[in-house]
């Protein structure tokens, strides 16, 4: 009996095991332990949360291997880490470190202005961001085993996450309802591989797990994204930039499980301390929009 390691089924499968869960950004091993105790299904190991990347400016790169390794050694849940868009050598390094998932992320400064990483070449699965169905299916075509709708990371403003989730789900509905002869033109118009367009139509959903990310700061934000139809949420600055990260993290985890139960949501939203201050996306300068990175 042959055994096959790192198939697309196992890559996509890990994301399926994360469904209904919260993936938290952490910058130290202590944060990672707080996240695990709060009920996170995975952590994203990075040097700075997006709010600090915005504040600091400069080039944002893959985190230092010693930090990622320290975080991997401190928790039993999966550890993810980010690489710059198109930076396949950063991805090779993360694979050598054996991180569980690689996020090819617009939050870091892009390394290639035309091409994303060929993710089929890696044993480690990838998650990528999208603003619409075409972008999601292009990333899956390149080998992404998980998708997250892009929000505006580091703002604490959920509006972009909502916009992009509504766009993706709206386009899928449109795709499912159109006559078959329109499929090829639809695929052409959204710039997506035809076979994946057909598969999405047959499934009535994306072929891989789809989380929300960017700007989620409260249990209500997380439940909002779940009710809109995503499979789980990434929370970045929203937890460790808040007054009481352990309590807020735990409340967001519960909100994702009980997203459809307003009585429980009301109860868990009490006494969480201060939320992150945040910035309105509408007040950002054009060059501050991270979600626009990626092609």
């Amino acid at each position: 009996m042959d055994s096959q390691v790192s198939t697309f089924t196992t890559k996509k499968g890990l994301a399926q095991m994360l469904k209904g869960g919260v993936i938290m950004d952490v910058v130290t091993a202590d944060h990672a332990k707080i996240a695990e105790e709060a009920g996170a299904v995975a952590v994203m190991a990075l040097e700075r949360v997006p709010a600090d990347i915005r504040a600091d400016g400069g080039v944002a790169r893959m985190s230092a291997p010693e930090l990622i390794t320290e975080i991997m050694n401190s928790v039993s849940i999966p550890v993810m880490a980010k690489v710059r868009i198109g930076h396949f050598v950063e991805a090779q390094i993360l694979e050598a470190l054996e991180v569980d998932y690689i996020d090819e992320s617009e939050v870091l400064t892009p390394a290639d202005e035309a091409y994303h990483i060929n993710k089929h070449q890696f044993k480690t699965p990838f998650v990528c961001g999208c603003r619409n169905l075409g972008e999601a299916l292009r990333r899956i075509g390149e080998g992404a085993a998980m998708i997250r709708t892009k929000g505006e990371a580091g703002t604490g403003d959920v509006i972009e996450a909502v916009r992009h989730a509504r766009t993706v789900f709206g386009e899928i509905k449109q795709l499912c309802n159109m006559p078959e002869e329109e499929l090829m033109t639809f695929a052409k118009n959204i710039g997506a591989p035809f076979e994946l367009v057909k598969e999405t139509r047959e499934l009535g959903q994306l072929p891989v797990v789809n989380f929300a990310a960017g700007g989620i700061a409260t249990p209500a934000d997380a439940a909002l994204m779940m009710q809109l139809g995503v499979d789980g949420v990434f929370v970045g600055s929203g937890i460790f930039k808040a007054g009481n990260p352990a309590k807020r993290g735990e409340a967001i985890v519960k909100a994702v499980t009980h997203y459809n139960n307003p009585e429980i949501l009301a109860e868990i939203s009490r006494n969480l301390g201060e939320a992150m201050v945040g910035r309105n996306v509408s007040e950002l300068e054009d060059n501050e929009h991270l979600a626009d990175r990626g092609w």
């Binding site: 009996m1 042959d2 055994s3 096959q4 390691v5 790192s6 198939t7 089924t9 196992t10 890559k11 499968g13 890990l14 399926q16 095991m17 994360l18 469904k19 209904g20 869960g21 695990e36 105790e37 009920g39 996170a40 299904v41 995975a42 991997m72 039993s76 849940i77 999966p78 694979e95 054996e98 991180v99 569980d100 998932y101 044993k123 480690t124 699965p125 985890v253 519960k254 994702v256 499980t257 009980h258 139960n261």
Partner: protein, 209 residues
Amino acid sequence: MKESRPPFDLGRLKVGVLALQGSFQEHLAVLTGIGVQAVEVRLPDQIHDLDGIIIPGGESTTIGKLAVDFDLLEPLRNFGKKKAIWGTCAGAIFLSKDAHRNQPLLELMDITVDRNAFGRQIASFETELDIPALEVINSTPAPFPGIFIRAPLITAVEGEAEALAKLPDGRIVAARQGYLLATAFHPELSGDDRVHRYFLHLIQESSGR
């Protein structure tokens, strides 16, 4: 492949899938495909009228914590003393009496598990498994597609518990104890519903029909 007739009216069964976190929708889809009524379970008052419960794959630390926070540990333990429960991966860990780590467990099965026994995600794999117990579904069962994702191993099977499936090197990946079932792999991702049908068979036994 010749399938035996459903042993009793499957449509009258009501199976709950613990929906705190993880691959619960995948399990619900398989059950619905077989023709069983399948419901999500998040709170204690959703358990009493069920014929069996599946605890899905996911993160066992998350599922355990939420089960404690929403007072599900005792109701699940009481359910498992009389009726059928099946845990896949994280669910198998949750059913065990010992996971070599301080985390909430149901301690219903006399098995010890080793979490992430094969290593990190990069070592996740697929392999074909011989599961002789599937004879109740097919008289000569074909190999079952085993999908192992950051999977645990069952390192000890004691008391009433028995091993149901092993890797070629003898390591245990499935076990049964009365009406309780634990699999280290993910039948809910495999497109093969025979382990689900086997679990329905355990439910039938537990109901004395």
